[in-house]
Subunit: 465 residues, 2 copies
């Protein structure tokens, strides 16, 4: 390697040293002159992001952000703060942290900086700088902006990761509260609101305002709590839409009917009743579905949800790499499962899957990980185990299933077997390669007639070679 890994101080030195003082002064003059235009390019880029734009278009932010962008640019090239590496570096880190906090995506910042660079380069081309000085001006100005964005990005990603982690912890904490109690409380809150509307309709105060559902305890809960618990739920959006239409359409119509021709009231109240009934149903449904998803285990087989596969395999790969230990993966597929399902129905198929999962869980150690990978597929991560030992485990599973009596609903014995592909960690950091290798070995096991275990080619070659 010709180049070692320079720390920031060295890189700043290299960048500053690439241009003469005269060239740096030319860049400073150009930046000072064009600052407003350059800042406008950067700012307009940030507005592209719909979510960021909501904040950034706010007048206060607009003004402050223009000011900070301008300051950032002139600090770099006019005040030349990079002469003080710590100041330069700390400033960029702070900006990255703020971006993470107010959620300005890093790629937009990069885009803004890239467009700004081109505009600055165009300005520089129109100066009288000669070939080599112009080259140096570009290397200097581009390099400094690039380095600033690089430091910013590192801070941004670190802060964002920690934010996402806390967000998820909070979401699961919200879910972890007594969810049955929450469901009943909110059902009651919904009823309370509808009661208040009915009372004020039939009450004596003819002009009493009908309480909006959005402002009710239920509405506030839905807006401020449910969004966390039921992140991204389509049902939640459905309920929110219903709520909005009750407030904006139905309630005003009811209010008008009350003071006008009361003959329309019964029809409108029927509509209201139907809307509330639907909302109650959707609410129950939403609570129901979240309980299933968040469980972390497959409800049928009690094996792990494949959602955790990336977390667990990445972690095991890191451990195996760090400690130089072995680590194997089994991909287990039920042979001719479709026929079992077709001939004996889904309940019989489900029973077969449950029993297979039991065999697998009993055969593995407590420290291994068993996932439901697909409909009739299981993936097992065998920690600290080489491919020979993994093959033995796979054989034990295959044999136990072949020997087991799976009984159909009409009491005939079902001939259930499995095929298994085995792959062992070979140093490749991407867990998807390991899965692919096991999958490929499984495919060969199927091709060779099923009810057998095969070790992945690459793992075998490694052992032979």
């Amino acid at each position: 390697m010709e180049k070692t890994h320079p720390p920031i101080a060295t890189r700043v030195d290299d960048i500053l040293g690439s241009a003469s003082l005269g060239t740096r002064r030319t860049v400073a003059l150009v930046v000072e002159d064009a600052a407003d235009e350059l800042v406008a390019i950067f700012y307009s880029t940030l507005l592209q992001d719909e979510e960021a734009a909501r904040f950034l278009s706010h007048s206060i932010v607009n003004e402050r952000l223009h000011h900070s962008l301008r300051r950032w640019l002139t600090d770099l090239f006019v005040a030349q703060i990079a002469d003080d590496v710590t100041l330069f570096s700390d400033r960029q880190k702070t900006i990255g942290d703020v971006h993470a906090r107010i959620r300005i995506p890093i790629h937009l910042v990069m885009q803004g900086a890239n467009l700004l660079k081109v505009a600055l380069f165009q300005r520089l081309e129109t100066t009288p700088l000669q070939r080599d000085d112009l080259w140096a001006a570009l290397v200097y100005a581009g390099g400094l902006i690039d380095l600033a964005i690089e430091i910013m990005s590192q801070a941004f990603v670190r802060s964002t990761a920690s934010r996402v982690q806390t967000d998820e912890a909070y979401r699961l904490f919200s879910l972890g509260q007594d969810i049955t109690l929450e469901r009943e409380s909110q059902r009651a809150a919904l009823m309370e609101w509808s009661q208040s509307v009915l009372f004020s309709l039939y009450g004596t105060e003819q002009e009493a305002k009908l309480a909006s559902i959005s402002a009710s305890e239920f509405g506030l809960w839905l807006h401020h709590r449910a969004g966390v618990m039921f992140q991204g739920s389509a049902t939640l959006e459905h309920i929110e839409r219903s709520m909005r239409s009750i407030d904006s359409d139905l309630l005003p119509q009811i209010a008008a009917a009350r003071s006008g021709s009361r003959s329309e009231l019964p029809g409108l109240l029927e509509k209201l009743q139907a809307a509330i009934a639907e909302m109650k149903f959707l609410l129950a449904d939403m609570f129901q579905s979240v309980a299933a998803i968040e469980n972390g285990r497959d409800p049928l087989t009690q094996t792990l949800n494949r959602r955790f596969l990336p977390s667990i395999l990445s972690r095991e790969i890191a451990i195996a790499t760090k400690n130089d230990t072995q680590f194997s993966v089994l991909m287990i597929d039920v042979d001719h499962f479709k026929q079992i399902n077709d001939q004996w129905g889904h309940p019989a198929g489900d029973a077969v899957l449950r029993q297979i999962a039991d065999v697998v869980l009993e055969t593995c150690r407590l420290s291994d990980f068993v996932f439901r990978y697909g409909g009739e597929e299981f993936l097992v991560a065998l920690v600290e185990m080489d491919s020979d030992a993994a093959f033995q485990i796979a054989e034990r599973i295959r044999g136990a299933i072949e020997a087991r009596d799976f009984i159909s609903p009409d009491n005939t014995r079902l001939p259930v077997t499995v095929s298994v592909g085995i792959a062992t960690f070979d140093g490749h950091p991407d867990f998807s390669y390991l899965i692919k290798a096991a999958d490929h070995a499984l495919y060969r096991a199927k091709q060779m007639g099923r009810n057998r275990c095969m070790i992945s080619e690459s793992a075998r070659m490694d052992r032979v070679g």
Copy 2:
């Protein structure tokens, strides 16, 4: 705004259009010629990261990565894949996703690209390209690399955020399993290992190998499960160190004593017993501490843990911005709390805090958020509430606490009061500004004699102006 927000196709067009075909060909020749050197610069940058280096220095990865980096570079400048914008863009996205999966930090990729750019620019300077063509070559080559990295970063950050979210969900899922059962199982597993060692010591097979604790069920659990549940725990590291020293020091000494002079055995076994006892204690301690931390609520007052403050305030700011609703924050501080603690002891102070928390929780709505912010400080987030209404809530809290009978251990009445700072969301996207504003208002309330509520200056100006 002079510049609109160009989509990627337009930006690629701009970049490709910035240089003539002849200049592009010169860049292609330089890249082809210098590819190995440029790739080496990039690769050596990635090795800087200790964790990334562990994977990347592996021979297989080394070879594959050199190959992919070379391909990436020649695709850009020799094969010129950017002529097909979709292909170009998809390729960069895939790379970003892979980086997220194998955890190569984006700032290292940016750094590698930046150093590569400079080296390429230096090569370009030595070509016979004239001033304006050299300028165009830099804008073209730099622009294309920058755009590629930008697209990569967007994919990287998205994938990383989703990975972090799943990791945290998995961690909390692990914790959510029956933790008491887990504790007892692992205590039993530890005992089982020590029993097996003792049996093989006193057994008839003089040469039976002593089972290492790392390879025991307990050891595997500690390595592969505990690391997730007790992320970053110092106690866990302590246990791991003990385990390593048992395997590498104590067991070999015991084995040697067994076959040599058995006189040393009693002393060594005492050491082993002490090490196991310590491990049992640390294990219990670790399970204990995690239950408290993960609760999400402050154990004393049952208010929310301030760890969730960023998640909740960011979310509320997003909701307030999107729906154009109000949102206020109270910062509540107990007056002269130190005196209460000093005079009546911590138990009395704790009782006061609990009662204050009760008053606050009773006064707020279910949709509000009450946090323990500091020792004697609470922060309340009042959703959909303007500063007038927030002031009324604050006054109600202040009055209720002033009126309440706080009784000291010797049955005298303690004069407990609170001061409150109030701030209302003014459009600034950074929640830390809102907290600062409430804090500043609280400071003024203290200065003006305590036992009072003050609205933040900026919020008041907004209302007046």
